[in-house]
Amino acid sequence: MKFRLLITVLIMMLGVQTSFGLNYNVPQAATAPTIDGVLSAGEWDNAMTVSMVYPAIVTSPKEGVINSATYNPDSAEDLSATWYFMWDSSALYVACEVQDANLFWLCSEGPYAQDGVQLCFNFKNDSAAVYRAEAAVYDFAPRTSSDTLPDIYKRDPSYFSLPNGVIGSSFPTGGYVIEVKMPWSDFDSSYVPEVNDIHGAGLVLLDYDSESVTDEGSTIMADFGNGTYSISTVSSWNTLTFVTSLECGDAGYLSQDLNLDCVVNMTDFAIFVQNWLVEY
């Protein structure tokens, strides 16, 4: 959180209108996960996680936002999620564990207009990428209205439509789980991912309680890292930076961890004591 606050302050100090997303370090997978919709023990333990818990996600210093045309969730149980990211030489692996108290997929508009998650993905963080084209918006549906299987949907299939993508889903009590494999070959057959590679990303949760997202009870909750619904501004999306493994700081810092060593202990308390009764 300190890192996010620092980013926010730095952005404000620049005094520019554009808001930028956050960066997440994504570790290399020691073993590729099985794409079956089940987060098996140990399978995602070392992944980079990003939580989208309502209302914390929209509370200062907020990184997320509720689409203004939709409705706020009733609670964290109504709509929240944890995303998982890993990579290896063959694919980007994404999982999303969603809390959704009211599942809905009796939709006639297609797999994107129902409960599901959206991953906005800008391959190589291309500054020239066009929203919805090269800068893709993927709907990962845990199931569709036409059958009981999960599905991947992209509105403009002419770019990066993931023909070889794999998706799995499951439905534990109170929500659903999605696992996705996004093969690099579907983006660029010559691409070999390396440490320090950067890709753009935005995270969206869709919670439909009827066929129209504007009906009461429906929610679009997004995390572009800047507290705004900047889905069409590709340059403002979050970034995923590939690393070998996560280090201290990649899972955030507790605010009480004053020396940022990832443990709240006597060293932090000594700093706390030095500031006792300080008042601004």
Partner: protein, 518 residues
């Protein structure tokens, strides 16, 4: 014992040391300021003069107020120090107000009376209430049943707090009674101490006159008259500590004016003297203070800077006559929030009516006015689409530096604060009339015409005008204190509890039991 509990033990021990140290180091920041000091040694022009020299020009003289004669001054050193004021117990009374509210008691938020009394009657008769002092509706200070009684009232329901301490007949008794801003009262005599609180932490700081030697002149009969001697009467108010200076950089500040150096700049094609806005964190604003007339004005005379360190911090801007006034800020376009801070030393606050003799300190043209009249400083704020709000007042200490803070908020509430008092008012309209291109003028009222622009007399130093709310933690220069986990801008027990709750928690990636807070 596990390592975790040993850590808790160490935490508790260290924290206990912190508390002890902090308690010992707590500074005292307040001080009592004298409103009047009466030695009771002689009459001057039929009054007992206020001999206090700390507060210049205060002149809270004591006026004998009984026909054909009031209390008398003793002879032959009968007082505790020198002479004393003698009351006969049947007819004599005096008042601390012969000037109809100009300089007298005007209602402070705190109060202290320190007096020597030698009673010949200590209220032994069941009908006796021998009054040393009364502020109608607020304070009763009398002798009854052989004791000193000190009563004061709270605001909410006029509940009376009644403090009693022993007193000795035919002897000099030193009596001190105080009321603080929280409605806490303490009475001390040579025989004991009593204290009490109003149930809502307030007290009624009435603007009534102060009567000495009787409950109220003309009422109550002889049983309410003091019989004996009163000497060395001192009334004080609790003076708050002002800021060291208001000159620190602040992005929220519209203009920061140290009043130390006059520069020359071209403004609207005309060379003018200015006090430069020195706020380096908002250099683009450069809201200098410009001497002379505002564009619509016609009074080109300018104030001067003091020399030789005449300000409270360095020099100050000096308004030495009614024919000079200060200029204006460039660029004020209205804001739903306004904060004005300044050190002010007024020389003239005695005007009996709103006129050229009612000097105006601040004029946010046609929106906010702060001015002096009748011994108080007054503020009024423009109601949306209407006239000004009611006037809200706090007392003035003439001849003394006072730190004035005015805060006008988006909801139309406003607070005027000085070292001697504080008042909160409202336009009662849920907002105020702020959205207009205008000027901020110091030292004159631009809405007045001709030569009656209500020119200020006195000194003004270290002015800061703020038009943006930027509290601790939201300011680039004033982040939350380290350890302020609750983000309430102070490191205290709330934060300690937060530290304890997170004790030994970790966020090491891939480590069992650690948290991931992304």
């Amino acid at each position: 014992m596990s390592g975790k509990y040993i850590n808790y033990l160490i935490l508790s021990l260290v924290f206990g040391l912190v508390i002890t140290t902090a308690s010992l180091a707590a500074p005292a920041t307040d001080d009592w300021a004298t409103v009047t000091l009466l030695h009771m040694d002689s009459f001057v022009d039929s009054n007992v003069p206020d001999d206090d020299t700390v507060i210049l020009d205060r002149n809270n003289d004591l006026t004998p107020y009984a026909d054909p004669c009031g209390p008398t001054i003793t002879t032959g050193d009968q007082g505790y120090y020198g002479e004393a004021l003698s009351f006969n117990g049947t007819t004599q009374v005096a008042k601390l107000i012969n000037y109809q509210g100009l300089y007298g008691w005007l209602g402070y938020k705190t109060f202290k009376v320190d007096v020597w009394i030698k009673p010949y009657d200590i209220g032994a008769d069941p009908n006796d209430y021998r009054y040393v002092m009364q502020i109608a509706g607020a304070v009763n200070f009398f002798l009854r049943d052989g004791n000193v009684r000190f009563q004061y009232h709270n605001k909410a329901n006029n509940q009376t707090i009644d403090l009693t301490a022993g007193v000795n007949v035919n002897q000099w008794n030193h009596v001190v009674a105080t009321i603080d801003v929280n409605g806490h009262g303490v009475l001390t005599t040579d025989n004991g101490t009593a204290s009490g609180d109003t149930n809502d932490g307030s007290w009624l700081s009435s603007s009534q006159e102060i009567t000495i030697g009787c409950k109220k002149y003309g009422t109550g009969g002889t049983h309410y008259h003091f019989h004996g001697l009163i000497d060395e009467l001192k009334i004080s108010v609790l003076k708050k500590a002002g800021p060291t200076s208001a000159m620190q950089d602040d992005l929220a500040a519209f203009s920061v004016l140290p009043m130390d150096v006059v520069s020359s700049k071209v403004v609207d094609g005309e060379t003018r003297n200015v006090i430069e806005d020195v706020n380096t964190l908002s250099p683009g604003r450069s809201n200098d203070f410009i001497f002379g007339a505002a564009p619509s004005g016609s009074f080109p005379e300018e104030p001067n800077l003091t020399t030789g360190g005449g300000g409270i911090f360095g020099e100050a801007l000096q308004f030495s006559s009614l024919q000079k006034y200060m200029g204006w800020t460039n660029g004020w376009s209205g804001s739903d929030y306004l904060k004005f801070e300044a050190w002010v030393k007024p020389f003239d606050f005695s005007a009996a009516r709103y006129s050229a003799r009612a000097p105006v300190l601040l004029d946010v043209v046609s929106r906010v006015k702060v001015w002096y009249r009748g011994g108080v400083i007054r503020v009024a704020v423009r109601i949306p689409g209407g006239s000004y709000s009611s006037e809200y007042t706090i007392p003035v200490q003439s001849g003394a530096w006072d730190h004035i803070t005015l805060e006008v908020r988006p909801d139309g509430t406003f607070t005027l604060d000085s070292l001697y008092g504080s008042v909160t008012g409202s336009t009662l309209a849920g907002g105020w009339n702020h959205a207009i291109t205008s000027y901020i003028v110091l030292g004159a009222d631009m809405s007045q015409t001709g030569s009656t622009k209500c020119f200020f007399q006195g000194l003004i130093d270290d002015v800061k005008i703020t038009d943006t709310v930027m509290p601790c933690g939201e300011s680039f220069t004033q982040d939350y204190p380290i350890g302020d986990f609750s983000q309430d801008c102070k490191v205290d027990f709330v934060d300690f509890a937060s530290m304890a709750e997170s004790w030994l928690k970790c966020t090491i990636p891939g480590t069992a039991g650690c948290l991931d807070i992304n």
